[in-house]
């Protein structure tokens, strides 16, 4: 035990064992989080109604996917939804949204978490009247394109020169994200859309 070789063998074996376990878990996790996997819905979920409900068995809130509820009054084919999501993610990365906001709680904590932003009651309560929009998605687009025009508190979102196309793609991305099973994060999320 007081010879380095003993501990060298220990270091190598413990690292190797843990790495192998991690690889197996990674294979399973990746299959669960692919779009259309166990925990993450297919991108075409943007054509459906999304709710959020407490599941007593899981002791956590889980997304509920309902019937058809079109986004921007359009029905996206699978290929169109794929393209839209890709554009949405590119818009999110190019504007470095994560360096103010958080996604699944990862990011910068300066602005609200966006995990369940699509389900947030604030759009209907505040932004729809403020932007004079008939739908939630329209209100979100208007806000994203000109956030400095709709300040709600002292800390404002800067204008990131998002085009209409960018903003629609981001809204679609947020709708898809809200349908991901996040083991109940964020805690006790209070949505009005719990059908």
């Amino acid at each position: 035990m007081n010879h380095p070789a003993f501990w060298r063998a220990g270091a190598i074996s413990s690292t190797a064992v843990m790495a192998v376990v991690l690889i197996f878990l990674t294979i399973d996790s990746l299959s669960a989080i692919q779009a259309g996997g166990r925990n993450v819905p297919d991108y075409s979920v943007i054509n459906k109604a999304i709710g959020y409900q407490f599941d007593a068995k899981r002791a956590a809130s889980v997304p509920i996917i309902g019937g058809e509820e079109l986004l921007f009054g359009r029905k996206y084919s699978a290929a169109e939804a794929d393209r839209l999501m890709d554009h949405g993610k590119l818009a999110i990365q190019s504007r470095a949204c994560i360096n103010c906001h958080t996604f699944f709680g990862n990011g910068a904590y300066y602005a609200p978490d966006l995990t369940k932003a699509w389900l947030d009651p604030v759009w209907k309560q505040m932004w729809m009247p403020m932007t004079q929009s008939a739908t939630k998605e329209e209100a979100m687009v208007k806000f994203l394109m000109n956030p400095e025009k709709y300040p709600t508190w002292g800390r404002m979102m800067p204008n990131l020169k998002l085009t209409r196309e960018d903003s629609e793609a981001i809204v679609a991305y947020l709708k898809w994200m809200s349908a991901i099973d996040t083991n109940g994060f964020p805690s006790g999320f209070k949505t009005t859309e719990s059908k």
């Binding site: 699944f104 904590y109 996040t182």
Partner: protein, 465 residues
Amino acid sequence: MYRSQQLALKYFIAAIALFGIMIVFGLLASAQYVHMGFLFQVLDFSITKTLHIDTMILWLLMGFMGCIYWFLPQELERDVEGIKLAEIMFYILCTAIATVAAVFIFVQYGGSNEFSMWFINQGRKYVEAPRWAAIGIVLVVLVFSYNIVATAIKAKKITGIMGVLMIDLVPLFALYLIAFPRITNMSVDLFWWWWLVHLWVEGTWEVLIGCIMALALMQLLGTARRIVETWLYIEVALVLGTGILGLGHHYFWIGTPEYWLAIGGLFSALEPLPLLGMVVHAVYDAGTHHMKTTNKPALYWMMAEAFGNFLGAGVFGFMMTLPQINLFSHGTQWTVSHGHFAFWGAYACGVLSVVYVALQKARGLEEMNGIRWKWSFGLLNFGMIGMVGALLISGIAQAFYERAIGGSTIQAFIDAQSNLWFLQGMNARLVFGVLFAIGYAVLVYDLLTIGGKHRTKQAAVLRPA
């Protein structure tokens, strides 16, 4: 002094300069919490914060590289192979960092296209650097690896520490490649991104700093090689044995399966154990030497590393790592508090310790001491403890008002951020941040001047020859 050690000093200068830039942008970002509208649409929070954390990663990485370039020729008793290439890479790296920083400050972001990813901002936390710069970092790491491996081959000598170091270079390089792809699915994106961030920081970096501390201990306290190597192996076994699956504590809420709650919780709960071991070891080492050394600042920073790591990663980490608690604390200022303390304890203190070790040798000083290092040591640590304490209060308030009471909505977020507990915490953080910055200024002054008189005397003795 070997040529590689002259390069090491350059790396230390760059690292300490970046440390200062990190503090400047940290102060700006924290001021943006306190004064709403500060630098709005000029230098928004996303930019100040990006520069704050990216310079943090870079100064530590450059510090590590400086440490290795310092000890490598001593360890292998010959100058480093390919040193010319390494010197060129140093300047390329500095130019690349300055260019990326200028783009972040003046261009900030581009349109929704691949051009932005290649030349402006990749928009992924910690790896915002556009792809061209990421390629530069890959090249720097490759040359760094070549220097180490080629020198060992030429020297026909592989010590235990060198063996660990060389194996560690493989994941250090491979994991960084995750900085390149753009993945549409956020869950998959974050899954791999955590491989990069966690396995780099809590895996390869821990091993790297372990190697550096082993080399530093031999020089600082004259500890026998057999002892430090044994201890290094134990540390690697414990750190990687708990840390690899400790990755799971980042997989609680990103869409990954429920079993990660149990795995991540268990393994990250085990992480304080090796840290406790390091504290006991540090007390043992310091005690058997009665805190006597010719290099007091290096020894104190090394002790700060052991205790800071235990408090920041161990105590602050354990407070928030169990899934039932993390559900509330994750993604709040609570995380920020833990992050600051853990990085400070685990890495920053260690790098500062080695900088003092290197300076003693570079300036040929018999003893390193004085009053200034004590002030900087005190102010930096006091400032840091104040900052993390203030952030802890803000973070707990945020978890309480936004999550537990407010229901985690956008309005709940705003309410929590406007709460008095939260705001007072943020004010206090800024005040302690200023103290920390003063500590940094004293540190720089001390590093520039320590042993000044003796240095001139020695230089005078040397000159006639």
